[in-house]
Symmetry: D3
Subunit: 73 residues, 6 copies
C-alpha cells in the first residue's frame, strides 16, 4: 500500500521540456519494483505520481534553480 | 482546521480533459460537508485542493495508467 | 485512480487525542463514495490517507491554532 | 534539511495569472532565510517548491474560491 | 533537484512496527540511484522522505486497510 | 489562500528532539507575514503545517541523514 510522489524540475528530455513517456515509464517501474524487493509491497496497490515543477518555482540555497546554477558556475 | 488534497487522473469531464467546474464544486462541497458531519470541522477553515495528474504521470502496478489499463483489458 | 490526503488537527475523539477508528472509517467511506458518485472513480483504486497534526504544528492567521483560538475568543 | 511546499491560488502578478519571477524569488529567499534564522537550517539543503492552483480547484467554506468570494462580498 | 515522498503502511519490519533502518537505507539508496540512472539527477540534491502511516489511517476500496484485507480474505 | 507545508528533520530544540513551541510560533508568524508582504495574501486564510521527520527517514545524497553527515565529516 505505498504511495510515492516524485517531484522533479521540468527540464531535459526529448525537447528540453521534461522527461518523455519512456523515462517516466522507467521511473514508475523502477520505484514499484524497489518497493516490492525491499519491503515486499504489492505492485497492484502501489501508486507513483510524477510532478514536474518549473525551474523558477523550485528554490535551493535561497535562490530559484536558474539563479542557483548561475551563482555556482 | 482540515486540509484536503485530492489528486485525480486528468480524464473524463465535458471535453475528456478532466472534470468541469460543476463536478469540482460538488467535490469541494461534499468533502467539506463530510468533515463537518463526521468530525464537526468548521467549513470556514476547511481547505480543499484538487490536482489533476496526466495519465502518463500516474503509475499503478508498475505501469503508467494507460499501459496498466491496456494490460488488464 | 484518486489519491486523497486529509490533514486534520489532532483533537476531539473518544479521548481528546483525535478521532477514533469509527470516525476514520466513516471519513474513508464517505470520501471514496463521493469520488465514485461525482466522478465515477473506482473505489478499488482510491487511496485515502488521514494525517493528524498537533495543534502547535498548525498555523492560521499567523498563529499556532491554540493561540489563534485564544485571540478570537 | 528543510523542504517547504507553498501552494497559492493562481491570481495577481504582472498579468493576473500568478506572481512573476521576482515575487517568487523573494518568497524563496524569505522562507530560506527564516529557516536559517529561527532553526539554523543550512540554505544549501533547503528546498522550496511553489505550486499555483487554479481558483476553481481551491475550495474554502465548501465553495470554490470564486463562489466563496462572491458569497462574502 | 528531485524530491521524493514515500508513504507506506506502518507494518512489517523487525518488530512488526514498520521497516527497520536497513530497509529504509536501501529504499533511499535505490530511489536516488534510479533518478540518477534514468534522468541524470544529481544525488547531492535528491531528497527522499519516508513516512509511515498507521493501518487505520490508510483507506482503500472505501475501507481502512485492516477491514479491506479482512473483506478480501 | 496559501497553504504552506514545512518538513524539517526532528533534531535540535530544547531537548534535542525538535524545535520547541516558541520556534514553531516564530516560523508560523514569519511565513504568514512573508506571504502577506510579498503577495498580499490574507493571514486569516493562510495555513502553515509543520511536520518533523526522523533523521533515518530523510535521505540526501543516497543516504539517510545520519550516514550522510558521517560521510561528509
Amino acid at each position: 500500500m505505498p504511495y510515492v510522489n516524485i517531484k522533479i524540475t521540468r527540464e531535459g528530455g526529448p525537447d528540453g521540456r521534461g522527461p518523455g513517456p519512456e523515462d517516466k515509464t522507467r521511473l514508475i517501474a523502477g520505484v514499484t519494483d524497489l518497493l516490492q524487493r525491499v519491503l515486499g509491497k504489492d505492485p497492484s496497490t502501489t501508486f507513483v505520481i510524477i510532478e514536474e515543477v518549473a525551474l523558477e518555482d523550485w528554490g535551493i540555497g535561497g535562490l530559484p534553480v536558474p539563479e542557483y546554477r548561475k551563482a555556482r558556475s
